[in-house]
């Protein structure tokens, strides 16, 4: 017998490909249809009135369905916290380094994760005021990707106390 035949087989490549069809769900569908029109929809928790963004099926804190009227939010907000990412990730097509941010939209009570653009890395800081940079209108679809990234606003920083409970 040759050496090859007696050697342990160590690696067997076995690619797996499975197709899935996702349903966004009722609540997220409402949000996605709105963002296709350039609108940002949140929804109030029926128990404490906090505005969840984006809309979702239930308030996770109270386990109650959220089915009231949506609340339209502006595309401005506060950068609550961030990380400068210098490591590539297969699912993220952005050039390195980029700034991953958590943004608290004005009027919302939950943060959204996105990225920051058109900004000097040295100047990124917590409390910055930011605005969404949208794709050209003709490219809008039912996706959060209609917002390319957030850009800094020329406004004074938000006070730490105004957003610290969202970190």
């Amino acid at each position: 017998m040759s050496d090859e035949a007696t050697e342990d087989l160590r690696v067997l490549r076995m690619p797996v490909e499975l197709d899935y069809t996702y349903s966004a769900g009722r609540s997220a569908s409402r949000f996605l249809r709105a963002i296709q029109e350039g609108k940002l929809l949140g929804q109030r928790c029926p128990v404490d009135g906090k505005v969840y963004f984006p809309t979702r099926g239930a308030c996770p804190q109270h386990g109650m369905p959220i089915d009231g009227e949506p609340v339209e939010l502006p595309d401005t907000g506060t950068l609550v916290t961030y990380s400068i990412v210098r490591v590539p990730s297969a699912n993220i097509p952005l050039e390195l380094p980029y700034v991953a941010v958590q943004v608290l939209l004005d009027g919302a009570d939950t943060v959204m994760m996105h990225v920051l653009g058109e900004c000097d890395l040295e100047t990124v800081h917590m409390g910055m005021r930011v605005r969404a940079k949208w794709k050209p209108k003709e490219e809008w679809s039912t996706s959060v990707a209609n917002i390319l990234y957030f850009v800094p606003l020329d406004e004074p920083d938000a006070a730490y106390d105004s957003y610290k409970e969202h970190i």
């Binding site: 966004a24 804190q61 916290t81 990380s83 993220i92 991953a100 917590m126 996706s143």
Partner: protein, 385 residues
Amino acid sequence: MAELTGVIGIGQTKYAAKRDELSMPGLLREAAERALEDAELTWKDIDAVVIGKAPDMFEGVMMPELFLVDAIGGAYKPMLRVHTAGSVGGSTAIVAASLVQSGVHDRVLTVAFEKQSESNATWALSIALPFSVATVAGAGGYFAPLVRGYIRRSGAPEDTGIRVAVKDREHALKNPLAHLHLEDISFEKVANSPMLWDPIRYLETCPSSDGACAMIFANEKLADRSDKPVAWVHATEMKSEPTMFSGRDQVMPRAILDNAKSLYKKAGIQNPREEIDCAEIYVPFSWFEPMWMEGMLFAPTNEGWKMTYEGATKLGGDLPVNCSGGVLSSNPIGASGMIRFAEAALQVRGMAGEHQVEGAKKALGHAYGGGSQYFSTCIVCSEKP
């Protein structure tokens, strides 16, 4: 009401980036055989098996415990498979302990594992779902903003994370099973390593490892027969909260604080810093040491970093943390939590070898997962309660 339960056997594999000389069943069996050997038992002495691991996509097998069960002697026995995100290793040990504490079984084997080299964990964690934008680059991308939040609120010196990394990597040199043995580790080396997810540097992050950890729990009657020291389970606790809701404190979640209070109450601990001799804490990024020192109530709010700074968490300090090298030195994800519990048990059994904390009697094991939302913990002790 619960039966007193002890850890009578522990087995760990060597942790490494690739254990490709072993199949998945071989990996589990290596840990399970070592646990049986430690407990001086054979397969037939085991009543039930509990298997834990993180998401199935990490190996590309759906419910892999089904094909693995006979490799660890579980054929024709009860078998459970636990999955609670990163805390799963701890939760799995807790489920195994409960089977004995409830009186349902006398002796239970539990194995937690991950063979990350058989798939791609970063891929599995970042599967792009339709309608969403991928902005989170793996676990580091998720946790880095929270670390920044901690630094902001605590005013911790920027080099705290570096100090934790140096300490855990020095500890790992005393643990032959650890994945990373960085002989020339130094403050400068960590400080100069590339910034990956600012403020987290490369050497402040955990590796990706293959490995398995096994434990055997027995009731008091059987554990008393053991010739070796027993780690008695004084208390276990699990707490979970949702990933996101308005006003959620993601840096210091209530679930860890509630978990700590409940755990210490059950274990009769008034002052954890004084009464606990050492701890194995789930620290996948160095900054989580000071954060979880506060979460587990060893330090006042915003002062966890002082323990690192004062050297309290080093071998020889008043509360050595992660003497095994911790998750920063070995990270087979699904097993990482159980390794914390097993290492805590080894310490109070006096069987931790070169990384033994002298005279350790009472130890804490801790694991967490998800978006800092799943916590599982245990207190083990060399003496019965």
